[in-house]
Symmetry: C2
Subunit: 766 residues, 2 copies
């Protein structure tokens, strides 16, 4: 199996060209509709002047944060651009294309994140106003969901547009160029997830520790200097970070499908993976427009219905597309390498796509079951509050472990199911990638669902701070916020599923890259390249096993670093809010306003500083392992990150979601309600869960993709240096040592920033 | 590489025979010294009649639990014995030997556990009496450490005796027979770890929830009906479970070394792995006798000194043994398969052994750093109590993640270092196994250190309950208890390191078993068996990756099940203690005694019921994966369990240790001392950590070994059924389906036992 051999046979002419142009047109239409939805959201009533004032402060803080973040990340992007340009490539065109595509991937990812944040910070006040009588619950839900819809269509539209243009321009070289595109998108998304995640939870935890715990004032109380920062956080973390993350999931899954598709199915394999997500875009538009809250129906039921309807339409249309576009036997594909493969390509393809769609639906159901306010697991966690905080924490951890296992089993089943469709490895790998495309058809609706979370959370914040929302309005907003907690957890489950499918599929490309490099390096060892490549990657080799152990280490280290970063940054918030209470008279009496901007500045500075260590770890760890130990241990390393990362990501997301909603259950009056010991116990659980579910957990998804793509990009260089003379061995170990030094320095520096949360300092009150 | 080919060359005659007999004699001497130490412990003063009464109650409860546990496990042992007998074997002698060895392994493991528990329940009152004036702190420490010494020498003596007898009787077939021995030891140890772990923490958590939280009475208060059960738990969990666990670590590491040693080095490879642990036994005797507490010196310093001195002596003696016994070039080994290997076998061997010894020392240091009361990480966790329980929990989780990463990196470094010693795979694998033997030299002292923990914990319990211990005595016992927390964490780190080294080495045997079976099955596919075996186990194959994901799942599921089991069983304790407070008048006033035995009965029943699910999972999951998906995914599965399991085990052990000692720091008067909000926060952290560090975490070590050995035993059967006709495919999938049904049923049954902790029930007080 070799993509380069197959690539030569790939040409896009006639009807294929028309289809790809059609894909680009649909992508443009999606962008137009996103613009229309945006206009609809902006047209809604904006509430009282006080609400508008608060919303404006949040907008300003969020925009300032993103602007500073992009400046910081710009330096990173330039460095990686240069490094990428220096890496080996088959042709100069490929080299230039890959580097330029990297820039586009990063820029698109950033734009999507910015757009998501921009719209969400404008939607919050409109949802609050609607809930407060300006249209009621139905209108509030519609604004929230259409905000998400605009972001979802922008995500899928941009992803599809980028991919289709690259395919039209580069044709057979498109997969190689798209590696750069995917890498740019994933790298930027990872940084945005980490930075935004630290921001949002540092502000949230810090605000809670001083406000709720020390001063006994409610969440979002305007006397708390950290409240604006807390609301800014929802937008830069859950909106900007999440939108960028799902964009990269989209991009990387497409990249994997196109690489493997062109190798397995030739031209048709390059076009078909574009058709399926195009269907997804169309059904997402339908799903967004049919979402209409019915009176008395729980919000989650409404949203789930839209998901299931659009998934069903996607399944139907994909089946039609498969049988119309793909032949029913391999000989008709017209490429030599798979001429004799048995089976029906059209049937295989549609089964794979269906596996992906069903996978999304099952994860949706599983996550809803484990983290929803109406189901047994979360209720059990809430009930555990009767025996104190320790049992709440243990209960949430159990829910997290258990749901992670079921989710991983379902994902493993999907991978294995697609894999079994063909005994020819390259075809089987393509089927796994197509299952990923099936998942992608749901991304538009998923983004819409996810964005719902921070928008309704923020709407509640704006309402609370303004003090101008009716009891009825407050109740609506609380319900929508709980729905948002579950939809956020669902999105994380889907995102990690795309990571596993894309990474498993990319693994095939990695193997191919090793083999190809071994052939071209003309290895003198006398071994056939193929057998050598399977030997070095044998899982029973101690080298591979060591690589796996290192992979598992990186997932744990990354999670620990992210959680620590939140603790440290939250400490700075606590310090500042206490200072303001002490030094600015009249805050508690409401006669004087705290300096909200000061806290936003501090969190901005700290989260940008803190994102460096986990970010550097993600980029340099595979470089250290690959150049230091070789391609076999690097393969083991990637596998170790996928296996451990999948479980860890779902565990962190779902335990956090369960704790958050267990708190909501108690706040709704169960087990003693607000202010009871049970409430205090669930607040502790929720605080533990904050960095789990919104910082460490969701960042693992782009982490896996970044590391996989880095491995794919450096594999040929490692092989070239491995088979060379002692000078090249020196270069290899030198690169590895440099990467290790960078990682160790980053970890040591971050550890030296003594957690100010733990520093001895005066409390605001005696 | 094929062990069967090499086995033919193995004969034990002349000086080799003398050496193996010498090993057996040293093993017997160790057992005699264990008996002498035991007599010394029993000769110490037994304190006041009240203390004796309490100690007798603990002895009775512990003995009753173990008796019932052995009856339950007896059924399991018989079933597995039959299954083992039915599995394919090369010769009938091997078949019978393997099954009999399984019984011996199980019996030895059980005996060691029983002995550890028996002596510890007698040492507790003697340590309490010594601390209370009958000899003072030095005497108290000596009794505690010599109790451990007796258990440690019994562990190493029995392990060595079993292995040397098998080698003398079976010679070349010894490795195959020893697989059964190791499996028996590991299986029983796993059940004892899980059952004892559930018992100890159910009683502990249950006692704390009603006593400390609801009634506000101190730990070990005689008015609490669960106190005796709590003290029984320390013995059946930390003593019996731990001793059995370290015995199986010993046995399995020896098995791996002997399998690979005979394949790589012939006869000398079968004898040398016996020599190194024999040196360890000798130095352990020295270490135990030189341990003498100096006035004013922290307990941990005293114990660590003994460890370092005996490790240094072991290193020196091992170097001498290597150069005296092993030749300096491979040709002189006299076996054909490695005649042309370059390098110096004696030098390689001593480097490997040193790697193992250094690894033990580094883990000792790392764990002490992360969980000790005098070092920064634990102090930081204690300081986090100033901002509440949530930050304590997050702080402990960070410490756990971080220390797990460093520990895993050190283990990975040791594996890779040993692996790099030779480019010949079988030799490299043997070197990894020898690093394991280096670790083993420290086991005698490690067991002594570990047993120190529960004995001092229990001594404190006996003292507290009797109410007859002076303030000075209580202070001594509290200090010793804190030392015990750290030594327990260290032991867990060492145990998991042996698991990784043994499992990595066993992996080589697994690969060998696949290849051998493929050859003998005469695979008609036309592929060379070797290349096929590396293909099916290639880490980039989706099948292998799915196996890895399943392996990671099992680690998470097992941990979740164990934690849940503790919650459920603790709920039953809470219920019963509340009932007694309600129905037996005068308990709180001290005019009437609670029914301690009732609680012991309940915990005994529940923990034996609860151990079934995780136990069945461990045995049947590899069967389900192996027969269902094949040998490649099974290899991936094992690798996944090792990578994830290592990190998870250390994470759970060290975060639990840090929380426990953070509580101790606060109880010593820091941050407000006992009764302050900071204390309450650290009590919550400690309760979360209880099932982490004493139930789920330590059971992962035997879990990994059980699954590896099951895989090794079933591999030939899987291959035989894989290359057969459709009938054999039917049998294969049938076996897999049956295993899945057993696991699912076990999980469903355990989930249907609604957590009584969460059930609505009347509280003892309004």
């Amino acid at each position: 199996m070799s993509t380069s051999a197959a690539a030569a046979e790939v040409v896009i002419t006639g009807s294929d060209q028309v289809i790809v142009i059609g894909v680009a047109v649909v992508a443009l239409i999606a962008l137009v509709i996103a613009f229309v939805l945006r206009a609809g959201v902006l047209a809604a009533g904006t509430g009282t002047p006080k609400m508008q004032e608060i919303s404006a402060a949040v907008q300003e803080g969020a925009a300032a944060y993103l602007a500073r973040q992009f400046r910081t990340l710009g330096i990173f992007v330039v460095i990686v651009f240069v490094l990428l340009f220096a890496l080996p490539a088959t042709t100069t065109g490929e080299r230039i294309g890959r580097s330029i595509a990297f820039l586009f991937g990063a820029a698109f990812s950033a734009s999507i994140g910015y757009f998501g944040m921009w719209l969400a910070t404008r939607a919050n006040v409109r949802v609050a106003a609607a809930a407060n009588g300006d249209g009621g619950r139905e209108k509030a839900m519609q604004i929230g969901f259409r905000t998400g819809g605009a972001v979802g269509l922008a995500t899928t539209g941009l992803g599809l547009l980028g991919a289709s243009i690259v395919v039209l321009v580069y044709v057979g070289d498109a997969p190689k160029v798209l590696e750069g595109f995917g890498f740019g998108a994933a790298m930027l998304a990872m940084f945005m997830r980490v930075g935004g995640g630290i921001f949002t939870k540092a502000a949230d935890v810090g605000a809670d520790l001083v406000g709720k715990v020390e001063q006994g004032i409610p969440e979002d109380d305007p006397r708390n200097a950290a409240t604006i920062a807390d609301n800014v956080g929802d937008n830069v973390g859950d909106c900007a970070g999440m939108a960028a993350d799902l964009f990269e999931s989209y991009a990387v899954t497409l990249v994997a499908s196109l690489i493997l598709g062109s190798a397995a199915f030739g031209t048709k394999g390059l076009v078909f993976p574009l058709i399926i997500p195009t269907i997804g875009v169309i059904t997402a538009i339908i799903g967004i427009y049919i979402t209409k809250a019915k009176p008395g129906e729980p919000g989650l039921v409404t949203i789930n219905r839209s998901f299931y309807i659009s998934a069903a339409i996607s399944a139907g249309l994909s089946a039609v597309a498969s049988f119309v576009y793909l032949p029913t036997n391999f000989a008709d594909l017209g490429i030599d390498s798979v001429r004799d493969v048995s089976g029906n390509p059209a049937l295989m393809a549609i089964i794979s796509v269906l596996i992906g769609i069903v996978l999304a639906a099952v994860i949706l159901w599983l996550t809803g079951y484990f983290t929803g306010t109406e189901t047994k697991p979360t209720k059990d966690v809430a009930k555990a509050s009767l025996t104190g905080a320790a049992t709440v924490v243990l209960g949430g951890i159990s829910v997290g472990f258990e749901s992670a296992v079921y989710t991983a089993l379902v994902i493993a089943g999907a991978v294995y199911g697609a894999f079994l469709l063909s005994t020819t490895l390259i075809v089987a790998l393509f089927m796994i990638a197509l299952a990923g495309c099936g998942l992608l058809t749901t991304v538009g609706v998923i983004v819409a669902m996810d964005t719902f979370g921070p928008v309704s959370d923020n709407a509640q914040g704006v309402a609370e701070m303004s003090g101008e929302v009716s009891e009825e309005g407050a109740k609506i907003l609380t319900e929508l916020d709980a729905v948002g907690n579950t939809t956020k957890a669902i999105t994380k489950g889907i995102a990690i599923a795309t990571a596993v499918l894309a990474a498993t599929a990319l693994f095939g490309s990695y193997s191919d890259a090793i083999t190809g490099a071994l052939i071209s390096a003309g290895d003198a060892a006398g071994l056939a390249a193929g057998s050598l490549s399977s030997f070095v990657t044998s899982v029973v080799s101690p080298g591979t096993l060591v690589g796996m152990l290192l992979g598992a280490c990186v997932v744990f280290l990354f999670s620990g670093l992210a959680i620590n970063a939140v603790s440290r940054a939250a400490g700075a918030v606590v310090y500042e809010v206490r200072r303001q209470f002490r030094e600015i008279p009249g805050i508690m009496e409401g006669t004087n306003k705290p300096e909200y901007g000061k806290v936003v500045d501090i969190v901005t500075r700290d989260s940008l500083r803190e994102l460096a260590t986990p970010g550097l770890l993600a980029v340099f760890a595979p470089i250290a392992v690959g150049f230091g130990l070789g391609v076999g241990p690097l393969a083991g390393y990637l596998a170790g990150t996928i296996a451990t990362g999948t479980l860890m990501a779902v565990f962190l997301a779902n335990s956090g979601g369960a704790w958050d909603n267990a708190k909501k259950i108690v706040e709704d009056g169960t087990h003693g309600g607000k202010g009871s010991p049970a409430h205090e116990a669930t607040v502790i659980g929720d605080t533990v869960g904050d960095p789990f579910k919104d910082t460490a957990g969701p960042a693992i998804n782009p982490l896996l993709k970044v590391m996989n793509l880095v491995a794919l990009l450096i594999a040929p260089a490692i092989v070239a240096l491995s088979v060379g003379d002692s000078a090249s061995a020196g270069i290899r170990y030198g690169i590895s040592a440099l990467a290790v030094v960078i990682i160790v320095t980053a970890v040591v520096v971050s550890k030296r920033r003594e957690s100010s949360l733990h520093a001895d300092q005066p409390q605001a009150t005696a």
